[in-house]
Structures are given as structure tokens and as C-alpha cells.
């Protein structure tokens, strides 16, 4: 039976809701589902005594789920935009070198002790590093006007940033090293303060206008010349999309560490699920699938019922690679494309 595409999109909403509920109910501390629901809606005024369940649900599980949903959605969206701009199925949030820049910023703070006096040095440095790389990429894009040059540049940035990070690692004390490795594992658990909600809102706020201009993104899939011939200011559109994807990636990397695999994989899964490359449905579907996958991967990483946790990046890769393989290798028309 064939389901219409909008219906397929809508079907993801209850799946997302179920994932969120599951992630709220399951945790390393067993809490009865009923208590979790009560805790979720309990209002807490400052100074008041509240239950353990309330603290765990509101202070640990909810921020974690929000971070996962926001980060998953944002990275998947960033990946989709990159694949569209570069018309390259292997493009992802990492191709601009933005997360390498964020990693370098964090390395400077953790390993070289730069800016240790700031209020939130890690997040600040990650955002600063990401934005610095993004600014350079945007300037280069403005000058050379060729996406492929930007792609090569991003790759080079990535190498350069890793090289400098390695140099910093080589001369650093064990505690700094451990801290950096910890950051590089990625985690949804520790995004500070208002981070989780900001991330989620930013993703939603960006999704809406993208859905509106979706046909222009479709035209971009034919190449910038075709897009121009259709009356689109292709370079400006590409620049806006690069900037959007770069900012999203930068924020996510700053808050959760480098979790970029999701961004390459999810757009392929979304296309395979919808059987369309048209962005009007692809954009929201990608965001939803990204959020769902991130929540489930995070749940798996915590292995409910056991006291062990796994590095999130490892789980995402182990989970994501077969899914992408199935989607990509399934016999269909057109091969691996954007």
C-alpha cells in the first residue's frame, strides 16, 4: 500500500513522541513511568523541597532528551543543506571544517589554557573556533564562487585543525588530554544551562523558513546555473545555506562535542524513507529523523538496565552505518545521490 508523502512525515511525529517518552522513562535509576509523568509536569518553585523523580526527570533526563533532539535535528539539517549546496552525497556538517574549528578552539582552552578565566570557556571557544572557520570559508566562497573550492578548503581546515590539536595534545598534561578525549567522545548529557532549549528552538526556527524556500533548494540540486536561469540568486542562496549549516554545526559541536556522522547519514535515510529529493517534505523529515535517531542512539549508549555507558559517537556510527548501507544499497533508480 502506498502512503502519501505528507502522511509519511506526519507518521514520524508519534515516533518522535514515543522516543522522547521512552528516553524520559528509561534511565540508569529505575523510576516508575507514572512518577516520571508526574515529575515532568511538576512545577518547582525555588527553595521548595521536591521529589527525587522530579530532579532526575527535570534536571537530567529532560535536558538530555532536548539536547539530543535539538542536536540530532540540527546536524541532520546541516548535513542536508551541505549535500544540497555541494550536490555531493558525502557532504556533511563536517565538510566546512566548522567542527574541526570548534575542536581546535576547545583544544586551545583545555590543552593550552587559553581563556581559562571566561565564564564558559569550552562553549565560548568552540563557538569562536567554529565561527572563525566559517568566516574564512564564507570569504573564500565569495571570492572564488566555486563550491568545490570551499569543499577542498574545508578539508584542509580539518587537517590543519587536527594537526594543531595533535601538537597541543603532545605537550599537554594527562588531565587535559583526558578532558579533550572526553569532549571528543561527544555527549548529550552535559550541555550547560539554557543550551538544550536554545538548540531545539534554533533548529525549529531555521526549519520553518527553509520549508518555505524549499523549491529554491530543489532548483539548486540541478546546479547553480540552472538555479540562476530560474531567477534564483544562486550564490546568495548558497551562501545563506552554508552560513545556516555552519552556525547550526558550530552550536551543536560547542554544546555536545563533535557528533557529525548523524549529519551525513540522516539525509540519506530521509530521502530513502520519503522517496523524494524535494525539500518541502525532506527538510522537516530530515529534522525529525535526526532527532529520533539521536534520542535512540543516546538511549542505546546508556544501555538501560545496566550501569555501563558507551561513547555516543561510537554508538551513532555502529547504528548509522548499517542503516545508511541498507538505504543506499537498496535497488532503486539513480544510485547514491543528493
Amino acid at each position: 500500500m502506498k502512503t502519501s508523502l505528507p502522511l509519511r512525515l506526519i507518521m514520524l511525529v508519534p515516533v518522535l513522541a514515543a522516543s522522547v517518552l521512552l528516553a524520559l522513562v528509561l534511565g540508569s535509576v529505575p523510576l516508575p513511568p507514572k512518577d516520571v509523568l508526574v515529575a515532568l509536569f511538576a512545577s518547582v518553585s525555588p527553595g521548595e523541597e521536591f521529589s527525587l523523580a522530579t530532579v532526575i526527570v527535570q534536571q537530567v533526563r529532560l535536558p538530555r532528551v532536548l539536547t539530543a533532539a535539538g542536536a540530532g535535528g540540527a546536524l541532520a539539517l546541516a548535513g542536508l543543506l551541505m549535500q544540497t549546496v555541494f550536490r555531493n552525497p558525502l557532504a556533511g556538517p563536517g565538510v566546512l571544517g566548522v567542527n574541526a574549528g570548534a575542536g581546535l578552539g576547545v583544544a586551545f582552552v583545555i590543552l593550552a589554557g587559553v581563556g581559562a578565566g571566561l565564564a564558559a570557556p569550552t562553549v565560548t571557544a568552540a563557538i569562536a573556533g567554529a565561527m572563525a572557520v566559517l568566516v574564512v570559508v564564507m570569504i573564500v566562497h565569495q571570492v572564488v564562487q566555486q563550491p568545490v573550492v570551499v569543499l577542498v578548503l574545508g578539508l584542509l581546515f580539518g587537517y590543519a585543525a587536527s594537526a594543531i590539536t595533535t601538537i597541543l595534545l603532545a605537550g599537554s598534561a594527562v588531565d587535559g588530554l583526558e578532558r579533550y578525549v572526553q569532549w571528543s567522545f561527544g555527549s548529550f548529557a552535559l550541555a550547560p544551562g539554557a543550551g538544550p532549549l536554545t538548540l531545539l528552538l534554533a533548529t525549529l526556527v531555521i526549519t520553518v523558513p527553509l520549508t518555505v524556500v524549499a523549491p529554491r533548494l530543489d532548483a539548486l540540486l540541478l546546479g547553480s546555473s540552472y538555479a540562476e536561469s530560474l531567477g534564483i540568486h544562486a550564490q546568495r542562496l548558497e551562501r545563506t545555506l552554508l552560513l545556516t549549516a555552519g552556525v547550526l554545526t558550530g552550536i551543536v559541536t560547542a554544546l555536545t562535542g563533535p557528533i557529525s556522522f548523524l549529519g551525513v547519514a540522516v539525509p540519506h535515510i530521509a530521502r530513502g524513507y520519503l522517496h523524494t529529493s524535494r525539500h518541502r517534505l525532506l527538510v522537516p523529515t530530515t529534522v525529525l529523523i535526526g532527532a529520533i535517531l539521536a534520542i535512540l542512539a543516546d538511549l542505546l549508549a546508556r544501555l538501560p538496565g545496566s550501569e555501563a555507558t558507551l561513547p555516543l559517537n561510537a554508538v551513532l556510527a555502529v547504528l548509522g552505518v548499517p542503516v545508511v548501507l541498507i538505504v543506499v544499497l537498496r535497488p532503486r533508480q539513480g544510485g547514491v545521490q543528493t
Partner: protein
């Protein structure tokens, strides 16, 4: 329809690819072929005429309105008058023919889409392809669909860059025939084709533009009979143009 004056064209910081000293016009009710050797500037001229390459010097006007520079025609309006079929062959994974053709309606903000898409598919006889994925088409089918996509823009001018290069001989002829038909039935006013298929260009075109770092324009008969076509391609070889067949043949008879 399109007038070009004193053009100087090139890419980036590279040398000029093409310099046109005189004024030239791509008129209405005509199928115009751009002919010339590799690297002569056919594609460059076509992209410039299509509004996709800003000239270094000179002006391009569409019905008297400048295509580039201050007071230039808006992008949307340009896209409602001109459409292109280019050589790029990147195709999305999951795009159906009808969806691809519907992209041609972008300049209209989606207005009257269904009827226009249906007509575009009908002109190119590709209705039966509508639900197929673009990636599954043969080269011939894909080129027809790309023409349909351009026609969905309801343009007055259609500009095509080497549209026949990947096609087998019957499909090459069929494509020229389709373009001829579109011009004669006034679906479009003007078709401009950059092509290497000299024989088809000679057979189907009203006008030729010989492009080899400079430009010469004239009717097919004029330019073939004056020897200008042959000179554009092979000024110093022992090949001669068979003007009836559109082939280059050795001037000395073949030894058997």
C-alpha cells in the same frame, strides 16, 4: 529579441575568451545555431546571452532591456522570458520527471503550474515519463525532459548548450526536429543552440553564428557558400566542407 554589443567575455581572471566588436542580434521566429571549434566560445556566448555570465565589457539587451548592470531586468522576469538546457548532468536521487519539470514554474511562484507542466510534457511527447525518476531515463528521454523543464518556464527564448552531445544519431535529429517544431508552432519565438552537429545545424537552422574567438552571423546559405563555415573550423588543413552533407572530407580523394 536579444541584442549583443561590443562584448568582451571571459572567466575569473583568465584571458578574454571571446571579443565581439560589432553588434549582433538574435532575432525572433528563428532557430539559430552557434557553430565553431572547441574552445571558440560557443558556450561562453550562450551563457552570456542567457543572463548567466556577466560580460567584461559591452551590453546585452533583452527586448531593449539590459540583462546586466544598472537597470537590469529582474531575475524573475528574465526567467519568464528565457530558459536554458545546459550540459550539467547532476541529478538528484529521488526526483520524478513531473517534479523536475515543475521546477520550471519557480519564476511564476507556482501559478498555473499544472496546465503549463502538462503542456510542456505534451510538446516534448514525454507525458508517459511523468512518474519516472529522472535517474532512470535514457539519454534521449532525459534531454527531452530537460527541454520540457525549460518549456515549463513558458519562455520566448530557449537556449541550449550542446543538447545532442550524448545522443545517438536518430535522437540527435529528433531533438533538432523538436526544436524546429517548437519555433514553427510559435511555442517559443527563438531557439539558440550551441552545437557540434554541423550537419543538423545546416539542415535545421534559419541563422548561423560562427563563433571562434570572434563572431560572424548570417543565414545558412550565405555562410556556407561564402566558405565562412569551413574557414571557421579548418583554415589551415587539407579538409574541405561538403556543404550539402555538413561533413568535413579530405580534399584529395581517398585512396582505395
Amino acid at each position: 529579441m536579444i541584442t549583443l554589443q561590443e562584448l568582451r567575455l571571459g572567466y575569473g581572471s583568465g584571458p578574454d575568451v571571446l571579443v565581439v566588436h560589432e553588434a549582433m542580434e538574435l532575432p525572433e521566429h528563428a532557430l539559430i545555431s552557434l557553430i565553431g571549434p572547441n574552445g571558440g566560445g560557443k558556450t561562453t556566448l550562450l551563457r552570456c546571452a542567457a543572463g548567466l555570465l556577466k560580460p567584461r565589457g559591452g551590453t546585452v539587451r533583452l527586448r531593449g532591456e539590459p540583462l546586466y548592470g544598472p537597470g537590469a531586468i529582474s531575475r524573475d522576469r528574465r526567467a519568464r522570458v528565457m530558459a536554458v538546457v545546459l550540459t550539467e548532468t547532476v541529478f538528484p536521487a529521488y526526483l520524478r520527471v513531473r517534479e523536475l519539470v515543475s521546477l520550471g514554474r519557480l519564476p511564476y511562484g507556482g501559478r498555473d503550474s499544472d496546465a503549463a507542466i502538462q503542456r510542456a510534457l505534451a510538446y516534448t511527447e514525454s507525458e508517459y515519463l511523468a512518474r519516472r525518476y529522472v535517474g532512470s531515463l535514457s539519454d534521449g528521454e532525459r534531454q527531452r525532459v530537460m527541454v520540457a523543464r525549460a518549456l515549463a518556464q513558458e519562455p520566448e527564448i530557449l537556449l541550449l548548450d550542446e543538447p545532442t552531445s550524448h545522443l545517438d544519431p536518430p535522437h540527435q535529429t529528433a531533438l533538432f526536429q523538436l526544436l524546429r517544431c517548437l519555433v514553427e508552432s510559435r511555442v517559443i519565438e527563438t531557439a539558440v543552440i550551441a552545437t557540434h552537429q554541423l550537419h543538423l545545424a545546416l539542415y535545421f537552422s534559419d541563422l548561423l553564428v560562427l563563433v571562434n574567438r570572434s563572431v560572424r552571423q548570417g543565414t545558412t546559405t550565405e555562410l556556407t557558400e561564402s566558405g565562412a563555415v569551413a574557414a571557421t573550423f579548418a583554415p589551415h588543413t587539407n579538409l574541405g566542407l561538403d556543404t550539402h552533407r555538413g561533413w568535413f572530407v579530405p580534399e584529395a580523394p581517398l585512396q582505395s
